[in-house]
Subunit: 467 residues, 2 copies
């Protein structure tokens, strides 16, 4: 008989239905009559309570069964007389796959801090919290594909290894096969990269956008969804050295299309978790009541209309507030980037919901963003959501060859290495736009996890490369 997942047993089982289930023991309670062994198999938030009647072959195995043991049980469902669960599972036959010595197994019934659980990354997915987070993460990851594929976008596998230090978006990891104890020197005293694996210096990507552009300017609409890297030496609860990023790119589209896509995308992600992860979200909202978004608030976001305002209007709002006595840690002035506190002020106190800020000063934005006619701003947009601020950054790209070359020259970006990128403006150029969204930020936002290390199976950060 095939095993059934507990999720399926609980959803489709009926009184007397026979199943084989497997899972890891969460708790065991022995009474004078039957013993109650609660197991979880990772398929859902709910556990299944096994009932082991006394004087059965299964009961003889009870001494080997403690928290963490792996079991296989065949038996049948019976409406539960106890509180807290609808069904009991009356065990006919039991097998212990693997025990877990209670003196050594780190995950006991009592709660553990998230900090402690980070030290046992290989076991923490067996907890309620990480089971919930990882299932929400999976539902969101699937929702990303469903959203874009449903709209005819092509998933573009842009490269991890790159020869370009492109955007200057933070520090880069270098990739090499050279022996670091015997780095070969070139005639000019520099490293002889001729002898490295790729015959030149190589890095880990910080963004797939530039490659996504050449794919969009051929296939129409594409999106990336893959690992991305930042070698910044800063340890915060919001940054990882390795994270997953989503970057759609659309040909024949302008900033307005970009805003519409971003808004629809955020709503779709919220709607999906509300529809598919209600038990997980409810658990997290209970367990982390102070930080987690209430499910009702996520549901509201799924139907929210996003406000729009320009950067210039946003700065005027902030200056007005500042003038009225509102204190900000960072000064507000046209030409300076908005800080998180400013963004949260806009979402939480001005617009009371998500807002898309557009048309930022060109000097604080990347070289590839399209110049507006005012000569001071670019066709950029940031999506800000309540509580955390920026969640998406995007722009229409500069599709005019002369403007792009001029901007690169102003910023001292050498054209060599970018000829292919300029080619996209030389040959069949077209308006196009896109945005980027850090996947872990969204998981963090929707699960209420305060530390980004708790929303990815194997977090990477400075001096952190555990399991």
């Amino acid at each position: 008989m095939q095993r059934d997942r507990i999720k399926k047993v609980l959803a489709q089982g009926r009184a007397g239905s026979q199943h084989v289930v497997c899972g890891w023991v969460r708790t065991k309670r022995e009474t004078k009559g039957p013993a109650f062994v609660v197991i979880n198999d990772g398929s859902c938030q709910d556990n299944l309570q096994l009932v082991v009647e006394p004087d059965t072959a299964a009961a003889a195995l009870l001494p080997r069964i403690g928290t963490g043991a792996a079991l296989r049980a065949s038996g049948a469902l019976r409406p539960s007389q106890g509180k807290g669960q609808q069904w009991d599972f009356v065990v006919a036959d039991l097998e212990v796959y693997g025990e877990a010595d209670p003196a050594a197994y780190p995950l006991q019934k009592k709660g553990h801090t998230l900090e402690f659980l980070r030290e046992i990354g290989h076991l923490r997915p067996r907890t309620n919290t990480f089971g919930a987070v990882l299932r929400v993460r999976n539902a969101l990851a699937l929702a990303v594909h469903e959203f874009f594929q449903g709209r005819g976008f092509v998933w573009a596998h842009t490269p991890i290894l790159t020869g370009s230090d492109a955007e200057g978006a933070g520090q880069l990891f270098q990739v090499t096969t050279l022996d670091l104890l015997a780095v070969p020197r070139a005639a000019d005293g520099g490293v002889d990269y001729e002898r490295d694996f790729f015959g030149r210096r190589a890095y880990l990507t910080v963004s797939g956008q530039l490659e996504a552009e050449f794919l969009a300017l051929a296939l129409g609409d594409v999106y990336t969804f893959g690992p991305t890297f930042r070698a910044e030496n800063s340890n915060t609860a919001r940054h990882l050295s390795e994270f997953w990023m989503i970057e759609p790119e659309m040909a024949f589209a302008d900033l307005r299309d970009d805003m519409t896509l971003a808004e629809d995308f955020v709503r779709h992600l919220c709607r999906t978790v509300v529809e598919r992860c209600e038990p997980e979200l409810a658990f997290l909202a209970r367990q982390y009541a102070e930080t987690a978004l209430p499910v009702a608030e996520i549901a509201r976001l799924a139907d929210a209309r996003f406000a729009h305002c320009t950067y210039t209007e946003a700065v005027a709002e902030l200056e007005r507030a500042s003038g009225g006595g509102r204190r900000f840690e960072y000064p507000v002035a046209w030409g300076r980037d908005l800080q998180s506190e400013h963004e949260r002020f806009l979402t939480d106190e001005v617009f009371h919901g998500p807002v898309i800020v557009t048309d930022y000063p060109r000097q604080i934005k990347a070289f590839y963003m399209r110049s507006n006619d005012d000569g001071r701003t670019v066709a950029a947009m940031d999506v800000l959501v309540p509580r955390i601020g920026e969640i998406i950054g995007g722009s229409q790209r500069e599709e005019r060859l002369d403007r792009l070359e001029q901007r690169m020259s102003e910023l001292g970006i050498p054209c060599e290495g970018f000829q292919w990128y300029l080619d996209l403006r030389r040959f069949g150029s077209a308006p196009h736009c896109g945005f980027g969204l850090g996947f872990e930020r969204v998981v963090q936002y929707l699960t209420g996890m305060q530390n980004i290390r708790d929303v990815i199976p194997c977090p990477r950060a400075p001096r952190e490369i555990g399991i």
Copy 2:
């Protein structure tokens, strides 16, 4: 008016229906009457033929329109009188977004070799061949998620950066932020990794399997689908330094479950491309008739039953053939690994279809595979398909702590760094299994591309790190 993709216009349009379309010019033909401008927007294999009537505003733009130019046209569908297409699109209004100087644009109407196209990787997605390959690739990528998600598997984002040189599966790329011109030395004369980003040596992953195991032993069923790296210094048409790999891992499952999953998976991929990519497959089969799989053969594979045989039986077959005069380049003997020629002999000449070979000698397989009771073989399986041989390699994992420790000690694998992996056998161990499939190999197989560089947007190989 919103632009419609050409795919939608051709599928849903009717005589007289009005649309806005955009795309890149494939060909232009001027006659005494109307001009015919054929465009493609990447949404499908088919082009759309624009009809530009003489003496219109649109006709005045014709001198600016050559192969490669990007256009926007509004107009209406009309049944075509010409051969080769069902519809004409009669242009009412035309805009040229970007021209393409015919003296400079590398993609002219005449065909180009795949080798030449590799040199203009940023433009080759605009060709029929690469449009087809990338759409098939996308359909397969989506099919991967649909297959596993439909069965309740969780997409596991295992890390790219790893501190372990684990499997010894080929050479590793090292990742560092050290200045290679001033590598710090430790007291023992080695590199002082204390001063590197992670405080220790770091690599790019060669497999997510070990991490997938800890996730499966908590969530039940998981799969990885992400970039993977091999620093092998060999230039072949079948190897990339960066490729995408799929690695499912199932708890509470044995080798038989693994075989069933692999078989269903391969069939699902074949079925999906036949159902969703018929125009692309038909184009490739026409264009690369000598190497591409006929669509009918892919359809047969989608319904094929996979033969099963043990390694020992396979070797007996090969030895029998050898004894009967069949020549192999590599010798056949029990204990040696099967070569591609042997695998293809089994699929093409013995079983006349796909076959799963099981129970390989332990000495040619990885340390984590489960020992069979015969003491000589392990619970491994390889899926072989006609024409190319191995496409999937998998195994049941050794879940018994003592056996695993013994095997690691035999092979001289130090236990430090693997304690977490051994913990999975100490605490709630359970039978589990999984397999790995190189995504590009499958795309190559189903598109008929002879060189693996032609099935990924930005191929990476020794001395190759272009766009």
